[in-house]
Amino acid sequence: MRRYPRWPIHLALILTSFVMLVPFYWVFKTSISGENIFNYPPSIIPRDPNLFYYVDVWYAIPFARYFLNSVIVTVLTIAANILLNAMAGYALTRGFRGKTFVLMLFLSCMMVPFQATIIPAYLITAKLGLLDSYLGLALPQFSTIICIFVFKASFDAIPASLIDAAKVDGLSEWRIIWTIMMPLAKSAMATNVILSFIWSWNNFLWPLIMTRSPEMQTLPLGLSRFLSYQEDTTGALYAFCIMVLAPGILLFLLAQKEFIQGLTSGATKG
């Protein structure tokens, strides 16, 4: 046991937490402050606090529509992700000719970030006729290599004896996957859900490039459009910001452990 005083550690961590939280408070207080937000000096405690800016934002922009778009695209992405990644992860646990080639291919694809592909991806999506559609928005994220490897590792960890016993019992390949392997890969599924949720929900560049009509815009896009909407002296923009952040924060607080586990396992397995 190391003997050292605890309070400096607490102090340092409290200071750090304060630094990490102050931006949220600053924006929150602006969003409920009833005065001209550009008055100097800015007040630490908001003067004349009211919630009416949230009402203004709700009626001024199609928040529900943006939210719905984001939700649809995210759900589509998550569902496709689980399906495709589990399938590919399972396939990679078996030996077959060309497996090394496929593995090399996957690993090299990991090095290609999305930003290096935007122009041809736009052209391809245009050629497929998927511009400005939910499918086109979700398609590039239908499968991610990190999650494939997470599934692969999870399937690899299933003892071979279990599979062999199932084979002896006469179960077909398909049934083995669904009844034995998938239930045991729950943590891999959770990781996949979380990772694909974060990437899809926060994705800004792809909807920016792809969407043509205002009805198909997702939440990040709507938020950045609102920047240039009205340079007024109220906290409406920051109310919008808080409204956009709230689901993300809520989800994170609900599923903290899974989030952190998912991100670290996704990163380390990659």
Binding site: N50, L51, F52, V55, D56, Y59, Q230, L250, L254, A255
Partner: protein, 134 residues
């Protein structure tokens, strides 16, 4: 998840009392409750009184409703205050309005801004409109 051997907990309870189910259910309940409340109170009524500088009710004052439209307010409805100074505006479509009263010979009251929580919320003014006049 509870193991059926050690812990006699019905399956449905395990599925229900779980933060991933409870939170959306609670949020949905709040949203529905709010929706219900809003739909019961959104007749667009604006009720108030007009008084003069001495505090006596003013009858026959012209009360105007102004509706906020992006950057400016536009005049929308007019009603006349009754004998006791009360007025009732119906059909307010907006969440951000102003009311003002005037009567020839008694001046005009300042514009009172009213912010509502949802469109056409029924509201009763706490402070009456004061005509400064003679």
């Amino acid at each position: 998840m509870a193991d059926e051997d050690e812990f006699e907990r019905p399956r449905w309870k395990v599925w229900l009392v779980n933060r991933f189910v409870l939170t959306p259910v609670i949020i949905l309940a709040i949203a529905l409750g709010w929706d219900l409340y809003a739909s019961m109170n959104n007749d667009g009524l604006v009720v108030g009184r007009v008084i003069d500088a001495q505090g006596d009710p003013v009858a026959g004052a012209d009360v105007a409703l102004w509706i906020f439209n992006f950057t400016t307010f536009n005049e929308n409805k007019h009603v006349t205050s009754g004998p006791d100074g009360r007025f009732v505006i119906t059909g307010n479509p907006s969440h951000h309005i102003q009311v003002t009263a005037q009567k020839p010979g008694m001046g005009a009251s300042p514009r009172v801004p009213i912010r509502l929580y949802f469109r056409s919320q029924n509201v009763t003014l706490k402070e009456p409109l004061v005509l400064p006049g003679a």
